[in-house]
């Protein structure tokens, strides 16, 4: 899954450790999320979205968004 976590974090001038502390997870988790090695659970995705004041789909893209748009 592609995500904009690294960009959002950089915009705020946060380190991976800062973001990890804010979310209550390990720095390794943030690194794994940013590099696409790990996809978050729904509760963690919500926490990330709330922290950045955005919707989950603004941050995470599973590459199937075109299907939703086509259905609409």
């Amino acid at each position: 899954m592609i995500n904009t976590l690294r960009e959002l974090r950089a915009e705020r001038g946060w380190s991976q450790g800062d973001l990890a502390d804010a979310l209550g997870v390990s720095r390794q988790s943030i690194n794994a999320l940013e590099t696409g090695k790990f996809d978050p659970s729904l509760p963690l995705a919500f926490r990330i979205a709330r922290l950045f004041g955005k919707g989950i789909e603004d941050i995470f893209d599973d590459g199937l968004g075109h299907l939703k748009r086509a259905a609409e």
């Binding site: 990890a20 502390d21 209550g24 997870v25 390990s26 390794q28 988790s29 794994a32 999320l33 590099t35 090695k37 790990f38 996809d39 978050p40 659970s41 963690l44």
Partner: protein
């Protein structure tokens, strides 16, 4: 599942791990010293010493399990994969050794070595997994 952060879960683990290992060290050396005081130690005493030595290992396994439950989801995946991988490797190693032992190729293996073999396998797989990230079976 308790709602604790990654940092708190690690702190809880370390806070309990150190005394358990101190107890283990004291039990191993103290127990061996105690049994050496007898020419033929009574069976009941040997059994008690052996169980006291083994108890902290059970404690460490429980602490590992608690840490896996309390830590963040990425680390939990790594921990669970390492525990499963460590268990599978240990089982395979034991079976291979057992067959070789059956045909007198290798000497009998002390059963208590299964514990350290598991911990070594678990540690190696955990370190490897942290570098590599979860495999395709995890959330992909």
């Amino acid at each position: 599942m308790a709602e604790v952060t990654f940092r708190e879960a690690n702190k809880r683990y370390r806070r309990a791990f150190v005394p358990v290992m101190v107890f283990y060290t004291v039990a191993v050396f103290g127990g061996s010293y105690l049994l050496k005081q007898f020419e033929t130690p009574p069976m009941w005493l040997s059994a008690i010493v052996a169980l006291i030595m083994a108890a902290p290992v059970g404690g460490v396994l429980w602490l590992m399990w608690r840490l896996a439950r309390e830590t963040d989801e990425f680390t939990r995946q790594q921990q669970m994969a390492a525990m499963a991988g460590g268990g599978l490797l240990t089982a395979f190693f034991s079976v291979v050794w057992g067959f070789l032992e059956l045909y007198n190729v290798l000497p009998p293996l002390w059963t208590f070595l299964v514990g350290p073999i598991f911990f070594l396998s678990y540690g190696a797989i955990y370190c490897f997994g942290m570098k590599r990230g979860p495999g395709p079976g995890f959330d992909k």
